[in-house]
Symmetry: C2
Subunit: 223 residues, 2 copies
């Protein structure tokens, strides 16, 4: 079978290989494609990762678990796992997507991986899909550092400053641009003790502050 | 056991009843409470409902499946299922929450139901939790009408007007109130052919429009 190498890497043999074929078919190639399988696989992935984090970190509050899961199931992470499986080479894409390099696009790779998870769920149930997910994610799960990964940038910056007994950062909105439903915020993060001023932009005040905190944290820790 | 009636309604007997007790304990009552179980149960619920919808509606595109799921797992729906189980009477709440009627609050009821789902998952695995979820949701699943439930109010209104060959509705922002990060939008929905003008409010322009569409649809279909 054409997909033998992929199945070996997935550690899973399909009873119905047509499900794998469908999971690798982008909507630009026609029907049946992987859009519905992606919907299914996304929720199976979320559930398997939630259960694993719940059991691995019995003392972490749910906010931390939630942030860790978000980092593990976000498009970029999925696309990296998909690249490791060389999914791009096996995707069936329409001509336009082929020409524009769709087989390298993170969203297309991530969707295909979720669709494969959905296909395994349909082929053999939750436990089989969970087993494959945990095997694929094992290296990432080993690398997880709940102390940093789980924390948002503002919290991370604040704890860093507290550990050095420095004053907490101040955030100031410098500008709000654009119409009401698509505003852009520009925020400055100021750390007086380190003479650091950094800027962040975002579609909400909160996201602009988080981005400013990222820049400030980098400036503070690279001095 | 204190929870016998509840277990009968859930159709599930716990091997570890302390998990059920924890699922019914709100954080205001102390630790261990149901916050982490809720995180887990939320993802199990999402997955079980996604799989059920995927299999029940083989022709629906993933956008419709996604909207149907959102309607089934939203706080209000969960709180209604929880009320049917009389969860409120069994919750362990702190004194402040007790006095302020926390046992009736939709968010507290919804969280407790999700936590019970997480507890069953821990007690006996995915298939047991899925079985309980589908039994609890059976009446709701029977009532689901993909033609209406799956569609957001604006789409529903638009299709209704098209089916009667009427001009499409217009939406106008009447007012934007409040500071940038907590704005309130007021939108008017106008259907010239039916002489209908309805108002909607929301924290985004989109949600205000959707609310205005709900009111306009009701006005249009009750004439």
């Amino acid at each position: 079978m054409k997909y033998r190498a992929l199945c070996r890497q997935l550690g899973y043999e399909f009873t119905r290989p047509e499900l794998l074929r469908q999971a690798l078919t982008h909507r630009s190639h026609g029907s049946p494609n992987n859009e519905r399988l992606e919907f299914l696989g996304d929720s199976v992935l979320n559930c398997a990762i939630a259960a694993r984090l719940y059991q691995t970190y019995p003392r972490l509050p749910e906010g931390d678990l939630s942030r860790m899961r978000a980092a593990l199931v976000k498009e970029q992470t999925l696309a990296e796992v998909a690249s490791g499986l060389k999914l791009g080479e096996m995707l069936m894409l329409g001509e336009g997507e082929l020409k524009s390099g769709g087989f390298r696009r993170p969203s297309i790779l991530a969707d295909a991986l979720e669709a494969i998870i959905g296909a395994v769920y349909l082929d053999a149930g939750f436990v089989a899909a969970e087993g494959m997910i945990l095997a694929l994610y094992e290296p990432l799960l080993q690398d997880l550092d709940p102390k940093t990964l789980a924390k948002d940038p503002k919290t991370q910056l604040q704890e860093y400053l507290q550990s050095r007994k420095l004053a907490l950062p101040q955030y100031e909105v410098l500008a709000i641009r654009g119409e009401a439903h698509e505003q852009e915020f520009e925020v400055e993060c100021i750390i007086p003790g380190l003479n650091i001023r950094s800027l962040g932009e975002g579609h909400s005040r909160r996201s602009a502050e988080q981005n400013a905190a990222v820049a400030a944290y980098q400036a503070a820790t690279h001095d």
